[in-house]
């Protein structure tokens, strides 16, 4: 995904990120060698805060690469993008540092979207490919205004009902380095392609840590998946079957009770015009969920019950 990764790193660079200095953060790029590695000259041209490691990987999971990346990190706060094909909007880093000032162990999550009209594993049926995506990206002139990505995107499978419903996972999540250590980094037993359920597992583990009192969502920011033939994001007839084994692995870790993290999110950040439709949709879906929970006399955010901070768990 050399081209997609360069887009992603551009969006993370100080050229694209606002209200932040290059010296405030570092971008660690870890690549498992393939026949299409990133052009390092183009990579380093994106900023002076980029460190790159190309490594040999015999397996098909990114787990070991993640751990290599975590080891390279020098900052007390670490963001993980498990999939290099995800572009981000311009104030992700600014708001993350804001959340870090609120609490050094805050968990910050950026909602996921897919570029294009629908989920990427439906690409063939939609006749959607890298060329059509490139045309869309050109149309919105995203380098001038990264929020225009919302204009050509649809909501991700990880958070299909918006920001007020539990996420299954997050492909751009940020928390303290200590929290990453607390969960033991990336568990390399997740050996399936793409890590299988690894990202879901790490997300939930970070979210239920007792030290993670503050759970932030950035409602006006996003991480946007570019089409690149990823493991679970390409249309194939055996997709369901292929996902079965990773799912059972994940369930085995959680005694068959794995589910999305049900914590009340603290919103942080402005919401620009292009992102309003998703905020409106989120609010609509939230009302439905709350009504259903009310009827069933269930707590809205059961994962919060183990934390000390008061949250809205009243009926």
């Amino acid at each position: 995904m050399a081209e997609q990764a360069l887009n992603t790193i551009y969006t993370l660079s100080a050229q694209h990120q606002r209200n932040i200095k290059e010296t405030d953060y570092e971008i660690i790029v870890v690549e498992n060698r393939s026949d299409q590695n990133i052009d390092t000259q183009r990579l380093y041209a994106l900023g002076n805060n980029i460190r790159y490691q190309c490594r040999e990987e015999k397996g098909v999971s990114p787990a070991a690469a993640i751990n290599a990346g975590l080891e390279m990190c020098r900052a007390p706060f670490v963001g993980l993008l498990i999939d290099g094909a995800r572009m981000v909007t311009p104030r992700v880093i600014e708001y993350t540092l804001g959340a870090q000032r609120v609490d050094q162990n805050a968990l910050v999550i950026v909602p996921g979207y897919n570029l294009g009209p629908d989920l990427h594993h439906l690409n063939k049926s939609l006749n959607y490919n890298e060329a059509t995506e490139q045309a869309l990206l050109n149309d919105v002139n995203w380098k001038q205004d990264g929020y225009r990505l919302f204009d050509i995107a649809n909501i991700s499978e990880a958070n299909p009902r918006g920001v007020f419903q539990p996420f299954m996972e997050c492909n751009c999540m940020l928390t303290s380095k200590t929290n990453w250590e607390r969960i033991g980094g990336a568990d390399e037993a997740f050996h399936f392609p793409g890590g299988g359920g690894l990202n879901l597992h790490m997300y939930r583990r970070l979210g239920v840590l007792k030290e993670t009192e503050y759970f932030f969502i950035l409602p006006g920011e996003g991480s946007f998946h570019q089409y690149h033939g990823g493991v679970s994001t390409t249309e194939r007839s055996d997709r369901e079957e292929m996902l079965l084994s990773p799912r059972s692995q994940l369930e085995s870790y959680w005694n068959g009770k794995f589910k999305g993290l049900e914590r009340e999110p603290i919103l942080l950040g402005a919401v620009t015009a292009p992102a309003q439709k998703f905020l409106h949709y989120s609010s609509e879906r939230a009302e439905k969920r709350f009504a259903r929970k009310n009827e069933a006399h269930e707590a809205f955010w059961p994962s919060d019950l183990h934390h000390a901070r008061y949250t809205d768990n009243f009926l």
Partner: protein, 336 residues
């Protein structure tokens, strides 16, 4: 026992509204405000003497971290009471509630302290709502009165869950199109003590009843300060106006429509004189805080209204948040 050095001082100005003010003070109490300790903040209650003053013992029972001052005021504006209150504040961050009849939701103070951790000069605005179905100057026309309000407050048991206040309320006149459109003012506004000092505290020229446009003037002044880099709105919190005989919100039966219009014209003239033409603060708000089930309908309508406004501005090729650009421009000029 008051705290040695609170992080936050909250000013509540009271005049002739005993019952409503006690509700407000309860909503500021450590028992009601969540995720914050009594020692973290102080509440400065300044009352201009009337026939219905508060009882200091009752206040202390509700709010152990309150300091109460009863003063005599010959004028009709709260401006001197506000400046007196500023002098009492010991914390580096100050909240101003110009009207003691406004109850709050339970995490206002927690989120203000969060905003302060992000930026010590943050400006934090809490959106305003009216208890009941309409703006309070229209209450009589809609057969809404203090008895009904009291009944509704009892029904929702607001002391148990303050977010239920949203269930019996309507959007306030200062933010009629919600929280993502420009606010005219905020009746529960927080900024650093330094910022209040920079705007010259409360301008004593605002001598009209209720201060006239004083609160609007202060809100815009704070928002346009060079130091105010972060402007937060709390989308899931609110300040809820209770029906009482307030200057701009009193019952139409007590004030003719003509008198009210006349009074508002006077207010407008004064503020326009100050600003050339006064305009609401058009800065992009940073949302902060959770949004409970009770507040979702307001967030949903806010988002819808924001989209309508953005489309209109796009059609006219107008910036969405012109005051952000104005500030940036003057910043650059000053730097140059």
């Amino acid at each position: 026992m008051t705290p040695v050095m609170p992080k936050l001082s909250v000013i509540v100005i009271v005049y002739n509204m005993r019952e409503q003010a006690m509700n407000t003070l309860h909503s500021l109490s450590p028992a009601y405000q969540k995720n914050i300790a009594a020692d973290d903040y102080e509440v400065i209650v300044v009352e201009n003497r009337s026939a219905h003053n508060l009882n200091e013992t009752d206040i202390k029972k509700t709010l152990p971290n309150a300091r109460y001052f009863l003063r005599d005021e010959q004028g009709v504006s709260p401006v001197h009471a506000i400046n007196f209150a500023f002098q009492q504040c010991r914390a580096p961050m100050i909240g101003l509630m110009i009207d003691g009849a406004r109850m709050l939701t339970p995490r206002v103070l927690e989120y203000v302290l969060m905003a302060k951790r992000i930026d010590e000069n943050a400006l934090v605005a809490v959106p305003g709502y009216n208890l009941g179905p309409v703006e309070h100057q229209l209450a009589a026309e809609h057969d809404y009165n203090e008895t009904i309000e009291k009944q509704q407050l009892n029904n929702i048991e607001w002391q148990q869950n303050g977010y239920r206040l949203f269930d019996i309320s309507s959007l306030g006149g200062a933010n009629p199109t919600g929280v993502i459109n420009p606010l005219l003012e905020s009746n529960c506004v927080f900024a650093s003590k330094t910022s209040f000092e920079k705007i010259g505290w409360a301008d004593t020229a605002f001598t009209y009843p209720g201060g006239g446009s004083l609160n609007l003037h202060m809100f815009r002044s704070l928002g346009m300060l060079r130091e105010t880099n972060h402007y937060f709105i709390l989308p899931g919190e609110g300040s809820f106006h209770q029906l009482h005989g307030g200057v701009t919100t009193q019952d139409a039966r007590q004030q003719s429509k003509q008198d009210r219009e006349q009074m508002l014209k006077q207010f407008a003239r004064q503020i326009n004189k100050r600003w050339g033409v006064f305009s609401v603060l058009k800065r992009e708000p940073i949302l902060l805080g959770a949004v409970t089930t009770h507040a979702q309908r307001f967030l949903k309508s806010s988002s819808k209204e924001a989209t309508i406004r953005f489309s209109r501005l796009d059609e006219n090729m107008t910036a969405h948040w012109i005051d952000d650009l104005t500030r940036l421009k003057s910043d650059r000029q000053e730097s140059a």
